[in-house]
Symmetry: C2
Subunit: 325 residues, 2 copies
Amino acid sequence: MANIRDIAKQAGVSITTVSRVLNDHPYVSEEKRAAVFRAMQELQYRRNINAVHLSKGKTNMIGVVLPTINHPYFGELVDGIAEAAIEHGIQLILFQTNYETHRELEALEQLRGSVVDGIIFCSRAIPLDMLTTFKHDGPIVLCEDVEQPYFPSVSICHEKAFRSGLDYLTLKGYERIGYCIGRKDTANSMKRRKAYEDKMREIGREVREEWIFDRCINIEDGRRVMREYLALPEKPDAFLVSADQTAAGMVHEAKQLRVSIPEDLAILSFDNHPIAELMGISTIEIPTRELGIQAFRTFFKHLHDPDTPIEKLMLPYRLIERSTI
Amino acid sequence: MANIRDIAKQAGVSITTVSRVLNDHPYVSEEKRAAVFRAMQELQYRRNINAVHLSKGKTNMIGVVLPTINHPYFGELVDGIAEAAIEHGIQLILFQTNYETHRELEALEQLRGSVVDGIIFCSRAIPLDMLTTFKHDGPIVLCEDVEQPYFPSVSICHEKAFRSGLDYLTLKGYERIGYCIGRKDTANSMKRRKAYEDKMREIGREVREEWIFDRCINIEDGRRVMREYLALPEKPDAFLVSADQTAAGMVHEAKQLRVSIPEDLAILSFDNHPIAELMGISTIEIPTRELGIQAFRTFFKHLHDPDTPIEKLMLPYRLIERSTI
DNA sequence: TTGTATGCGTTATCAT
DNA sequence: ATGATAACGCATACAA
């Protein structure tokens, strides 16, 4: 592979001049510029980007941390991030954590080792105080509804959204309400629990732990919930479900188990991914793709101006009525 | 940021010794090793991986080229690739092409510029002869059923699979068969067309261009096909559809348009993604995730032994009967 | 077992 | 407008 030195020799100019041509600097005569281009052509020159990275101390890459890419929510989110990133010539490097915190730490080490210029956490499992350790290694953006002054974040207001869902359910006459969340310990889930507890208090119902289902992320989880629902001595009459995928699994399993939806059990979920429309699931739309776009924009602002104020950006959600309520 | 030199000074050893400790080389006395570790601790040392990359001429990163990550097929494929990659400490960098060839070229330039050690094409649009130009810049693996001696590939045998689908349809009494494919010009699609033409000849039916639908990838495409189907003066009685997503859109739109499936129209699709089960779609399962795993393994073999013979790996498919036939 | 010297390919600084 | 040279941070052949 020809390098910048070979080009310089071939074109009869200095290395510096070649570098100037490479980087569109002014102050290069047309003749020399042409000579450099010719030499690059002849020698099939490609610049070694690792050398650029080392020299500049930047890579134009951003780390994207998520549990799995194979899920509509993260697929849409990354799609949004990628769309915004490509406009600025920034590449995405993927860190699939499978919910393991040590994988998140690996990603952070990459930030510290300047393999990436920054990180967007699509989902976070490691404690915030551990994260703050990496605060000065580059911009970190969170996609979650969490109270903290250290990192910018982008999300919907999960507490409000969950509350809206509960309001809608009670408005429709349901009061024996259970719910499903992804991971009990995430910020988003804690917000939801708070909304739930508040609402139960408001309508004079008690919180029933056996009506709360944890680890509900994909379709199979929904099936499991439905089977467990059936075994419940006292059953809820409605479920608020934090992901369309899970709701889809519930609806499908309900059909097998001859549970009528919404007669026996009403379901309201979140996301409004394509599957929700296909299966007629009532849901609260989360602008996932837009979330990704905004997450990147936020990252980019902080990348170029580290003094950008830490903001918590909230995007709107909206309820979509279909036939599971 | 402290560098290797600072550590050497602090620990009172040479740079080489530090490097040896860093890379787990033998022949370092315990005292010095300890001293180095202590210095690294004290100075909060992290090694700059870009420097490692430059020095080694490798990055331990692999480029993954695909049109969009936000689609179950590519989601599963990447999931498989990632699973295998992580075992070998290799990172994924994502190139979303949106089906634009210049984006694929950008990815290839990154290979040439040694930003990535190799590339897996989950979907390819640029011509093969252009691709061969990059043959010596690093291993390139294709996930398509294409005849060529230059690159290893991993796929199912689309011609046979499509033929199986057609056989099954005719066995069930359908002969007025149309089909949907993703992109007319891909290798996979051309294989399918061949299978279709052969079968039509075999059963004495002519190929009807208006029964062939191009650009069928996602759900919305399926809706479109269904509407166009309804406007057809003469209608097929069955469709072979190259993606569950599209089939799902068709089934959903059919319901709206009061077309009975399978009475008015039978549908057999490919993939067996979760949505196929949820919607009861008969489909031919493609082991997408396994495809990804094998694609990575193939890449990895070629990375470490460039003389590995170029192979075309074929994975099995299987038909799953549900209720759209 | 340890260290010296050199290379990796580019950018940046400072002269001229 | 152009060029010589010093970083950038690490790995490694070679010497000791």
